[in-house]
Symmetry: C2
Subunit: 207 residues, 2 copies
Amino acid sequence: MARKKRINPRKSPAQERSRFTVEQIIQAATQVFAEWGYAGATTNHIAERAGVSIGSLYQYFPNKEAILVTLAKRHVEIAGNLLMGLVAERNLIETDLTEVLRPFIQATLELHTGNPRLNYVILSEAVWSAEAMEQVHALEDQFIDQLALTLDTHRQVSVKNSRHAAYIVVHAIKNLAHEFVIHPPAGMSEEAFVEEMVALVGGYLNR
Amino acid sequence: MARKKRINPRKSPAQERSRFTVEQIIQAATQVFAEWGYAGATTNHIAERAGVSIGSLYQYFPNKEAILVTLAKRHVEIAGNLLMGLVAERNLIETDLTEVLRPFIQATLELHTGNPRLNYVILSEAVWSAEAMEQVHALEDQFIDQLALTLDTHRQVSVKNSRHAAYIVVHAIKNLAHEFVIHPPAGMSEEAFVEEMVALVGGYLNR
DNA sequence: ATTAAATATGAGCAATTACTCGTAATTTGG
DNA sequence: CCAAATTACGAGTAATTGCTCATATTTAAT
């Protein structure tokens, strides 16, 4: 799509009043993007839902895409912190691999169940504005690196290349969770799905 | 996006001349969608690239979405035939599981390497026009059912629920291949990726 | 050769929409 | 209390674009 747009905020909110405005816009955008998709969502609609004027919206976001990037960054950050926290609060020397894996997978699934559409918008738009999403991918890579270190720590895990393994694990879980919530397969419960995923990833890490 | 559009051809080409026209449109659409994304692609642009008038395009496709659906169906059909053929031409009683898995994964990867962007357009748009993509998903489900039967045949495979297993296997391979070609991770070759995938899926099926 | 059906054309319309800019209201600092 | 800075407003615009339709051309049928 050949985009070369600024994605940084046109202006940073300084007063409490404007910080509230920006937050309203973000909340509204979350709903509208999820409901209508990226192309279907209009900036006017977002502003309306946020209860602010279209002019105010463009004071803080230079364009539509910048709004989505903000959403994406927030999402990845929240997810990253939650998941790494989950791993960190467990003793990796003593805990069985499955006991770490299952909550990890469950949490990822819930993260996607919460707002499946929004995730899809973020994922699909990311392709067409690679530079804009650089920051998002940087966060993701950072997460993978962290996980790679963790893998090295766990006694049950034996992989040649922990970076490669972390990449496979993260994206297997992320993408299959996506798939599952977007096109729920007939005759497979959430619990069943989680167990299959535990088997898939557990078997891969522990050989 | 609340779409309720007809997606079936407005008119079926009867003469050789028009069949050629339709084929030109499909080829052009493949390129233009891949290059610009769904929203970025314009029907006028597609017609132009195809070397036909915009009027001709709308004689055979009721709207832009119908063009994408046609592309998607074709893609799934080709991929399905290729992959099932790959499995079919091997003797599952004697062949080692890995010997079936590796070419399967390689072929899937190549399928995506060929036109990564187009795949993404299809995937991401599918969410916003569920009914339109019904036919596409029917084809996918059919493929999973077929694979489930095959899994039951292979002696090395031992899974509780072959339907579930087929679902996991197909989507793990498909989605990770996507991920890999769209955001190639630094420091991981195609070969390395394939081997990791063989380990992932092989370990899951053979326990 | 004549008619009817199929196919091709493309100018232009109707609708949508991202975004601007001049102005007004509110808050802050001194 | 006042001036400067910040924030809010929203009507309007410029550009885009999916799609129609009246007309022309080509092919098939008799």
